[in-house]
Amino acid sequence: MIDGVIRTRVGYAGGQQSNPNYHHMGDHTETVQVDYDPRRITYNQLLDVFWKSHTPTSRSGPRQYMRAVFYHDERQRELAMASKVAVAQRTGKTINTEVVPLRTFTMAEDYHQKYMLKQNYALKAEMTSIYPRHQDFVDSTAVARLNGYAGGYGSQVQFDKEIDRLGLSDAGKQSLTEMVERRWDYSRQ
């Protein structure tokens, strides 16, 4: 999990078909959108994470699963293109990951948002009691962090720093602690 990221959401971007949805995505691509605090993390740092998170030299799949930087403005386009050139020079290979304009972004259906957290009914219930409106739930940094921990991400240092800031009850904290400690125990084996 990345310090400085405020929230994330998933949706469909890059295409021209109107009103895309999961079953009728048209020419759009499944996309993650990241809101971040520019005082704590830069766009270039996010680009670094992106390039390290996949193999940009491998062949691209169907458009639904295209690997791409969707730039929002000219500044992002320039930085993304420069980072792509740097990766090409470092690898000495053709980079198949695209740098393309965002055009539009359509939120994916509610059941796709914060998917991993929603598999943990107790933690999900705690957060929906705080944020009964789904858009507020999706916009919450606490929910984003919990989704990350539920998905197997996050370090012990991050966890220790923010466990008391996530709005959980004592039972919720206990449940989350047991979840991440099981994972850390497993990864130490």
Binding site: P38, Y65, M66, L102, I130, A142, G167
Partner: protein
């Protein structure tokens, strides 16, 4: 519930990490494959 009471309740329930969300954020978008 008057506004002062309502505000007190809301500020007591909102997670601290959400109470400190900055007013200005930037957005980036990625297709992850």
């Amino acid at each position: 519930m008057n506004l002062a009471t309502q505000t007190a309740v809301e500020s007591a329930t909102i997670p601290a990490i959400d109470a400190s969300i900055p007013a200005v954020v930037e957005t980036a978008s990625f297709g992850l494959g």
